[in-house]
Amino acid sequence: MRAKRSKLLREIPRFTRNRLRNPPNSIVRGRLPRAFGARNDTQLMDRLISKLLFFAACSSTAILALIALFIFKEGVPIMAKSGLFHFLLGREWSPLQGQFGIFPFIIGSLWITFGALILGVPLGVSCAVYLAEFAPKKWVNVLKPAIELLAGIPSVVYGFMGVMWLAPIIRTHLGGPGLSILAASCVLAIMTLPTIVGVSIDAIQAVPKSFKEGSLALGATEWQTTWRVLLPAARSGILAGVILGMGRAVGETMAVIMISGNATAIPTSVLDSVRTLTANIAIEMGYAVGAHREALFATGVVLFFFIMILNIVALKVSKRKF
């Protein structure tokens, strides 16, 4: 009996075990007044800490709510004044003349983001497939941290590289100003790699082993198994990674300002220069007053919706099973 009891006790974490063996005086005597309807001090502590954690959890949401409220309060009036349609689809941005059309910037953000995905997704997903399925252990140990390190490089360094090295190459070999959609997309593709690779590796590794074993047992080759079984099974996870990477590309500012040229015209080719929504805010914020400033906040509202939609889609997609 005794042996059985001590065995049972061993299953319980040590802290609780000691508490059970030698209950503190306060629990035994129960003298102190207690809040939250706690029966004893331990329980009081528990409830107190859980309340504290609850507030901590709420505070981050509250900050989000406050930011949203503030952006909307500053940005919505000008949208209403110049007309939502006019604001979103207007082609001319000259705030000092009262022209607030952000259509070229929406197009710019979309071009650069999709450009980054077209370059980054094939590279990222194939990298993830190799690391998750084919790479020898020692290569994984080198490659994976190296890719994660990419995320740690400040975006201004990417931008600097783009301006000094990539833009002149594009200018001399392909023409155009160099500071272009293509340059920005290349740099953003590299910047989104860590997100896409990281999430995709997890998604591929989360596919049950039996899928792969079953496929191999049926006589499929390694490649057929990867292409026909693993990737379709990991599809939703990979898609979520891509959408998260997209969020990063849409929100990137510093690097994009440096390498996209910031022209306000609607681009006609990938060698044209564009301005994104984020760049528009960052570039003009220093000088903006009055309606101009409100228009920049309104740009922020549009950006806010962009990112929200992307994140919600990512959440929905990653929850979907196959």
């Binding site: 833009a167 910031n262 022209a263 306000t264 000088y287 007053v289």
Partner: protein, 266 residues
């Protein structure tokens, strides 16, 4: 014991902070505005504070528009603005011209253009001329680099060169003098503009109507692309603020400005 020690240290830090505050609120002059003039203002403020130990001068940037706004709202005693023409809302402010700043049109050193007439400059920046060969240069598309909407340099340049017309839609934008210089230096077909004081050997400043963009020429009123730097004050000027403005206008301070690349008002 440890706790008491920590408490004492904390109290000491708090005391230090409050001490710092009381000292700075003693006699503080705040300047805000033009980012082009900010480094010069900081230099002058430093010199001034070395002599007048009881005065603290606080120099903030933000741009000419912010300078005007903060002078109107009173959040800065002096608003700095480097605009050719002060906007309507600045009418209630009292402007003092403390320096002048020339604007040079720059191209890459590889470009063989040496001079631009006012007309040619107007046509390039409005997009009427789009190829260098129309001006006797190489056969290449002209890449116009401008500043962002709201910049004092941009506003002055637009007023003097573009007159009433609009900047070409294909223009690229950079958000500081330094990045304009970088963009023009690295692109043989680019053209841009920046403060004369910031021209260096990686770019070539072209003559405007045959007059070279130098500070001497601006001073002699032969080079027309220049703008004044204003100190804007509102209503009655406090004696300590007036003293600082007098210092900035003094021979010594003006000489410093000239050495740093600006143009003195005298």
């Amino acid at each position: 014991m440890k706790r008491t020690f920590l408490l004492v240290v904390l109290l000491g830090v708090v005391c230090l902070f409050t001490l710092g505050c009381s000292r700075s609120s003693n006699q503080t002059i705040t300047l805000a505005g033009s980012t082009a003039f900010q480094p010069f203002a900081e230099k002058l403020a430093e010199h001034y504070m070395q002599v007048h130990k009881d005065v603290r001068i606080n120099v903030q940037g933000g741009g000419s528009a912010v300078g005007i706004q903060s002078a109107i709202s009173g959040s800065a005693a002096i608003g700095m603005a480097d605009l050719l023409e002060l906007p309507q809302e600045a009418k209630e402010l009292h402007p003092t011209t403390v320096a002048r700043d020339g604007i040079a049109i720059i191209v890459s050193p590889q470009n063989n253009i040496q001079n631009l007439s006012a007309e040619a400059a107007h046509d390039i920046f409005t997009g009427k001329i789009t190829n260098w060969k129309d001006l006797g240069g190489m056969d290449a598309v002209i890449r116009v680099v401008s500043r962002e909407e709201g910049s004092g340099t941009r506003r002055s340049f637009d007023k003097m060169v573009l007159k009433e017309d609009k900047l070409t839609a294909s223009s690229l934008f950079q958000n500081s003098n330094g990045t304009v210089r970088e963009a023009v230096a690295s692109d043989p077909n680019a053209i841009g503009y920046l403060s004369i004081g910031l021209v260096d050997n990686r770019v070539k400043a072209v003559a405007f109507n045959g007059v070279a963009p130098t500070n001497q020429n601006v001073k002699a009123n032969t080079y027309p692309l220049a703008r004044p730097v204003y100190f804007l004050t509102k209503g009655e000027i406090k004696p300590n603020v007036q003293a600082f403005i007098d210092y900035v206008l003094s021979d010594e301070a003006q000489k410093t400005l000239e050495k740093e690349g600006l143009i003195s008002v005298k």
